[in-house]
């Protein structure tokens, strides 16, 4: 089981608190939004965490002013099969 940090992009405002708490996991993009380091595809929305980062991730979930973060346990990110026009 891997813990994943889920980013709800519809709520995220790019305040940047999570990127300060998890500097090894999250970078900031051109506009200040969190960018998972070294990840591609849906692992940028459901970011797999190492055990060492779990405590800081809990803190980020608790402190996110936009309530945009959550944690879930599972084997892999939910399949990103959805696309507009579907």
């Amino acid at each position: 089981m891997t813990t994943h940090l889920h980013i709800d992009w519809t709520s995220c405002d790019g305040r940047g608190l999570c990127t300060e708490l998890l500097p090894g996991v999250l970078d900031r993009d051109d506009w200040g939004y969190p960018l998972a380091r070294g990840k591609s595809g849906r692992e940028r929305t459901d970011v797999p965490l190492r055990d060492a980062d779990r405590e800081a991730a809990h803190e980020a979930v608790r402190l996110c002013p936009k309530l945009a973060l959550s944690l879930w346990d599972g084997e892999k990110p939910e399949p990103g099969r959805r696309r507009p026009g579907q």
Binding site: H6, I7, D8, W9, T10, S11, C12, D13, G14, D29, D30, W31, G32, Y33, L35, K39, S40, G41, R42, E43, R44, T45, S70, W72, E78, G80, R81, R82, R83, P84, G85, Q86
Partner: protein, 422 residues
């Protein structure tokens, strides 16, 4: 009759004749088919017969969604069926016929709804029965709903089907946007920790299915999986509708083609000469540009020999047109169609459009192509829906297929007419 698409140009129906091409299946009942023609063509059928065995038939048939993502229909339906039975309470599932056709170059779904609404309703009733009597919805643009309502009225003993009008936006047909529109009147995608098949409309297991997929379900329920697999290939069984458009004098046409159809053959069937085309957009604005030779239309297969048909959009560009300008216009549109909910999409897509328009407009700056590539990689995978990566995919294919044009633009000239860089 009065249901003609007032706001849309009429699209001629294509019926394969003279033994070439695919025999029509979905549109076999002919233009404007009412209940009588429907029964004459396809025979009587009782939705209750789909209560058992339909999901197994769909598995055997290998039907994939015809709305864009090509997800296996049986897998989606089975997930919704399983979720309904879990837990202390059994929530009644929901099946939604999705006729929102946000792709500006797609017109096959509205054509199907206008000419074969009964087949779509049969498929909806079949899936509803297979899910133990799921609630039924039809979600379609204003121009498509009256014909469906009329068709429901023609049918004896029809169960209740609710009609919901889809707005004419690009993302209105994205499955979470569909559910959001029906629940809250707001057709924009929602964040999804849980799948719609587990928790969709009002927390109920929800199946959002493209209208053409439903019509295919209706045929499989009647004639079986082995019949379905008689058309197409082992990896892409059955047929699909495609909306084909291109340079004049070619007219917009809906064709029914077998799975794995060769792109040049489809273009010729639509009245175009592949040799007179520079590139073809396959799969719509979230699809990709390919050269008009050597690709088969299939959701599976190597990218150098197959192009994913997505929602069935095929749009040809003539030899004189500038692919960069065409792509820049599309990306500007896609940026404008962002729901502006997710930061990377809200800021990233206009940034991509801006860079592409600078290249299209003739700015001589060698960093622009690399910047376009960087922005595409930056936004991918970061949104509630796949609008960012769909847009990135289109831009990457343009960088590849129009590589020579990009070099020309960045040297200060354009091979197309009327280009600012010309």
């Amino acid at each position: 009759m009065s249901y003609a698409n007032d706001t849309y140009p009429q699209v001629p129906l294509h019926a394969a004749k003279e033994g070439k091409g695919q025999e029509p299946r979905l549109l076999a009942a002919g233009p404007d088919a009412g209940w009588g023609q429907h029964l004459d063509t396809f025979g009587p059928w009782d939705p209750r017969s789909a209560e058992t065995g339909l999901l197994e038939q769909l598995t055997e048939a290998g039907l994939t969604g015809r709305g864009g993502a090509a997800f296996e229909t049986w897998r989606k339906a089975t997930a919704a069926a399983g979720s309904g039975r879990k837990g202390m309470f059994t929530a009644r599932p929901v099946v939604i016929a999705n006729g929102a056709e946000g792709e500006p170059l797609s017109f096959k779904d509205r054509t199907l709804l206008a000419h074969a609404p009964h087949l779509v309703i049969d498929g909806l009733a079949a899936l509803s029965a297979a899910l133990g009597g799921a609630s039924m919805y039809v979600y379609a643009p204003a121009a498509g709903l009256p014909r469906v309502e009329q068709a429901v009225g023609e049918r004896p003993r029809s169960k209740r089907i609710r009609m919901v009008q889809a707005p004419e936006t690009f993302i209105s047909g994205e499955s979470s946007a569909v559910v959001n529109m029906i629940a809250n009147g707001n057709a924009v995608p929602t964040d999804q920790r849980r799948r719609l098949s587990e928790s969709g409309l009002n927390g109920r297991p929800t199946l959002v299915v493209n209208v053409e997929t439903l019509a295919q379900v209706a045929l499989i329920a009647r004639f079986g999986a082995p019949w379905f697999r008689q058309a197409g290939t082992a990896t892409d069984p059955g047929t699909r509708l495609v909306s084909v458009s291109g340079p004049a004098p070619a007219r917009d046409v809906v064709l029914e083609v077998p799975g794995g159809a060769q792109l040049p053959a489809v273009l010729r069937e639509a009245g175009m000469d592949p040799a007179a085309l520079s590139a073809v957009l396959v799969g719509g604005y979230h699809g990709r540009w390919v050269r008009p030779a050597g690709h088969a239309l299939s959701p599976v297969g190597p990218p150098d020999r197959t192009a994913r048909p997505g929602a069935g959009v095929i749009h040809a560009l003539d030899l004189q047109a500038c692919g960069i300008q065409a792509t820049a216009r599309i990306v500007s549109y896609l940026a404008d169609q962002s729901a502006r909910q997710c930061g990377p999409c809200m800021f990233g897509l206009p940034a991509m459009a801006s860079v592409l328009n600078r290249i299209a407009g003739g700015e001589i700056n060698h960093r622009l192509a690399a910047e376009l590539d960087r922005l595409g990689k930056l936004v991918s995978g970061r949104g509630a829906c796949r609008h960012p990566e769909g847009t990135t995919g289109l831009v990457s294919s343009a960088l590849e297929v129009f590589a020579a044009d990009f070099r020309a633009h960045l040297l200060g000239y354009c091979t197309g007419p009327g280009g600012a860089a010309a």
